[in-house]
């Protein structure tokens, strides 16, 4: 059979397309839920209108986004059974439980409370309304936790035994699955990266309006919240990424050797900045390196030995029998670099932004601005960027919006493709995981339909986002400013239109 049309190839492409697409919405959903809830809390506590305006504005963008996240998520759950039935049979006993937990605990939370939040403006007292969004936020975080526990088990299977008679993996210690290193570190890394995405999203859109000198009050508040989120999350993403790297060096040395295109083990091992290799010959033809850094990243020590791709391949051949245990090296190598590069670029821009727009610290009186003014971009105490440079700085802030999304997409591509040829590392090969009864025609059909539908929806979604971003925050209405005091809404006017309706 032609390799390009092997059922596992098609099923993998479909999984890749639908998952990367789904994950464009996930980090924004996780972070915006919490950020908007924070803004609403600020309104509830201070009563300042700009917080309510910001809540409504970002809330609208959040809803446009979460709608896509929810519907593309259903595909993920069905897909294991549809395209990967042998995988499902093999792992169901272990992998199914966190998935069911996710649905029963997290999804119900998310979907029920989001309905209350969307339609509840004139039905719930403001404190309870705000509480509902915090519940949504908790739901998104729990959901991430359970699904990442399941994924971590694929990266590093633990708390199970193989049943020889049935040939299935059987759960022996659920607690271990939920609390193993891999799970905890991956959850930490994914959540911090999600806030990186949300922070950049806020910064980019706020910069868009500030560049045009519009909606200054709301957007200045938003810019500040976005920048602080971006910097804190960026720092934590770097820390969690380093921790995750160390775990992976231990658990999947092949993935990390591939990430560095380190063909042969070295002590001390250098970190590769740029390399061009020949996979078939197993070495690089061009490389630029930082000596010793890889040793440090893997073991906190600049001189330790790091095994290379060829070493791990040999070790795995001895352990699992003859075969090629190397993933796609260029994808792993470049995926790793795009992830770090785009992620850290957005972090650096956040640091720069936070410095340039500071309110008082080391800033002369002349350059200080009020809440309703565009901040000067102050480089030093007395010197601000000129008009031309300022404009470019704001523009750069706008495009930063996309960086974390590119980074997290590559992060997933790297970690999933870096695990190949295994679907469950060291236990089940991807080629043994597909549905034997599903025809190529069926997989091609579903892949084509999903790709086409997702492409159309992407256009629709982005256009809607752009429309609502451009429109900016809306003026508040009488009913916005007078939320009900009773659950179910006040009785004063039975025929009053709903505050929100589909």
């Amino acid at each position: 059979m032609e390799l390009a049309l092997a059922p596992e190839t098609l099923a993998r492409w479909q999984f890749g397309i639908t998952t990367v697409y789904h994950f464009l919405f996930v980090p924004l959903t996780i972070s915006l839920a919490a950020l908007v809830a924070g803004l609403e809390t600020a309104w509830v506590r201070t009563g300042k209108e700009r917080y309510l305006k910001a809540t409504k504005f970002w809330g609208k963008l959040f809803l446009i986004n979460i709608a896509m996240g929810v519907v593309t998520g259903i595909v993920q759950e069905f897909q294991f059974g549809m395209n990967w039935s042998d995988y499902s049979r093999f792992v169901g006993d272990v992998f199914g439980a966190p998935l069911a937990f996710e649905a029963l605990i997290a999804f119900f939370f998310e979907s029920t409370f989001i309905g209350l939040w969307i339609f509840g403006w004139d039905k719930l007292p403001k404190k309870i309304h705000c509480f509902c969004l915090w519940m949504v936020s908790i739901g998104t975080i729990l959901s991430a936790y359970f699904i990442l526990a399941a994924n971590s088990w694929m990266q590093h299977p633990t708390g199970y035994k193989l049943n020889k008679a049935t040939g299935r993996a059987e759960l022996t210690d659920f607690w271990k699955v939920l609390t193993q290193d891999t799970t905890l570190v991956v959850v930490f890394h994914t959540l911090t990266a999600a806030f990186l995405a949300g922070g950049a999203f806020m910064v980019g859109i706020a910069a868009y309006h500030l560049l045009r000198k519009k909606h200054v009050k709301v957007m200045r508040t938003s810019l500040r919240l976005g920048l602080v989120t971006l910097v804190v999350a960026g720092l934590m993403t770097a820390v969690s990424g380093d921790l995750l790297g160390k775990v992976m060096f231990k658990q999947q040395p092949m993935k990390m050797a591939s990430a560095e295109a380190l063909w042969d083990g070295q002590a001390p091992a250098p970190f590769s900045v740029f390399a061009y290799g020949d996979v078939s010959k197993g070495h690089n033809t061009v490389e630029v390196e930082i000596p010793g850094l890889l040793s440090f990243l893997s073991h906190d020590d600049f001189s330790s030995y790091v095994p290379g791709i060829n070493d791990v391949n040999k070790a795995e051949q001895q352990k699992f029998g003859p075969g090629d245990y190397r993933p796609n090296i260029p994808v792993a190598y470049w995926g790793f670099r795009w992830m770090i590069g785009f992620g850290m670029a957005s972090f650096a821009l956040g640091v720069a932004g936070l410095w340039l727009t500071r309110k008082k610290f080391w800033l002369s009186q002349r350059l200080r601005t009020g809440d309703d003014e565009i901040p000067h971009l102050a480089l030093t105490k007395d010197k601000a960027l000129g008009d031309g440079l300022s404009k470019w700085a704001w523009r750069l802030a706008v495009i930063t919006l996309g960086f974390p999304l590119i980074a997290s997409s590559w992060g997933w591509i790297f970690t999933e493709m870096g695990r190949q040829p295994w679907v469950v590392y060291g236990v089940l090969r991807t080629s043994d995981a597909v549905s034997p009864g599903v025809s190529q025609g069926e997989v091609i059909t579903s892949m084509a339909v999903f790709t086409a539908l997702y492409a159309i929806l992407a256009v629709v979604e982005v256009k809607l986002l752009v429309k609502y971003v451009k429109a900016g925050p809306q003026e508040l209405s009488e009913s916005d400013l007078n939320p009900p005091t009773r659950i179910g809404g006040d009785d004063n006017d039975a025929d009053r239109p709903m505050a929100f309706s589909y």
């Binding site: 446009i64 759950e77 069905f78 009864g437 539908l453």
Partner: protein, 333 residues
């Protein structure tokens, strides 16, 4: 009682929850063309389910997730075997969810019209497809010795399963019409009751034939009881509707749905997917279930989460208890 029997019951319960709740959501979607006269009436209908449809749909996600965890073999055979129907259901659920959220977000006539058409079709197809899926599960399909589906798409489109699909469509649309009469005010409420009477009679006809067919082919004493309960509840829902007792009518149409699902699962037990090729290849509660350890953990999770879910979802219905009519729909969005 063995834990895998408990989980068989729990999964039936999740499907009851799903069909009861998303049943009227689907019905409302179909009624946007059958019942609503203009856009503002369509919006009244859509807004009766606006705050709740998403939470209702999670019952499906839970049913599928619980099947994966408790009966991996069942999950694997079902979803890979019924590939194209599942694909179609997925497409409908994707478009439908987006349609509810996006329809009102632009003013252009074309935009709103397109999403309204989408809501109708993506609400009409899933009930039919779920009926076809359950008809085939209960009726038995070609499952081979390796627990894989060995039939074709056409095998799934047999008369019994298609009848099941039409019966589910009629039942959910009836359920939706009763829900509409319970949740709206004004002329649409009166018309919803008339439409419900009409749909109730169609449901009676299709539902009875489907259930009797099921009973004759695969039924036993227990399933017969469920059949009688379903038929009586349906009749009661119809009568209550005619007398304008909307709450009772809705309760009874809900009981009818629950009894129908109960009947299908009682007919199945102890199989979860019988094989039409060889009885010894049947998927059963025991040969397709997870280990007792996994089932025990799942049982704890369900025992704590499910009552909690019902509590806060119930609260949502109470918060949005007021009827709505065209006067409550604002022009601006």
């Amino acid at each position: 009682m063995h834990l895998h029997d408990v989980w068989f019951v729990l999964i039936a319960f999740l499907w009851v929850g799903y069909f009861f709740l998303e049943g009227f959501d689907f019905g409302i979607g179909v009624l946007t063309k059958l019942l609503a006269r203009d856009r503002s009436e369509r919006r009244v209908l859509i807004n009766t389910i606006g705050p709740v449809w998403d939470g209702n749909e999670v019952w499906l996600i839970s049913a599928a997730g619980a099947t994966f965890a408790a009966f991996p073999e069942w999950y694997a055979t079902l979803f890979s075997g019924f590939y194209l129907p599942m694909l179609l259901i997925l497409l409908c659920l994707i478009v439908r969810g987006v349609a509810f959220e996006y329809r009102h977000k632009r003013d252009e006539e074309r935009w709103q019209q397109n999403w309204e058409n989408a809501i109708f079709w993506t609400s009409l197809l899933p009930p039919v497809l779920w009926g076809v899926v359950f008809g085939n599960i209960v009726g038995g399909v070609k499952i081979d010795a390796d627990k894989n589906y060995a039939g074709s798409l056409l095998d799934l489109l047999n008369p019994y399963a298609i009848l099941g699909g039409l019966a589910m469509l009629a039942l959910f649309t009836f359920h939706g019409a009763v829900f509409a009469s319970l949740k709206t005010v004004g002329s649409i409420r009166e018309r919803a009751r008339v439409t419900a009477s009409f749909l109730g009679m169609i449901t009676m006809g299709l539902g009875l034939v489907f259930m009797v067919w099921t009973q004759i082919d695969n039924g036993d004493g227990k399933s017969l009881v469920a059949l009688v309960v379903a038929a009586v509840a349906l009749l009661a829902a119809l009568v209550a509707n005619m007398f304008g007792r909307e709450g009772w009518s809705f309760a009874f149409s809900g009981v009818a749905i629950a009894a129908l699902v109960a009947m299908l699962f009682l007919t199945l037990f102890p199989n979860v997917m019988p094989s039409s090729l060889n009885e010894s290849w049947n998927l059963t509660v025991s040969n397709s279930s997870s280990t007792p350890y996994t089932l025990k953990i799942m049982t704890w999770c369900a025992a704590i989460a499910a009552p909690l879910v019902m509590l806060y979802q119930g609260w949502t219905y109470w918060v949005f208890r007021k009827r709505i009519g065209t006067q409550h729909i604002a022009d601006a969005h």
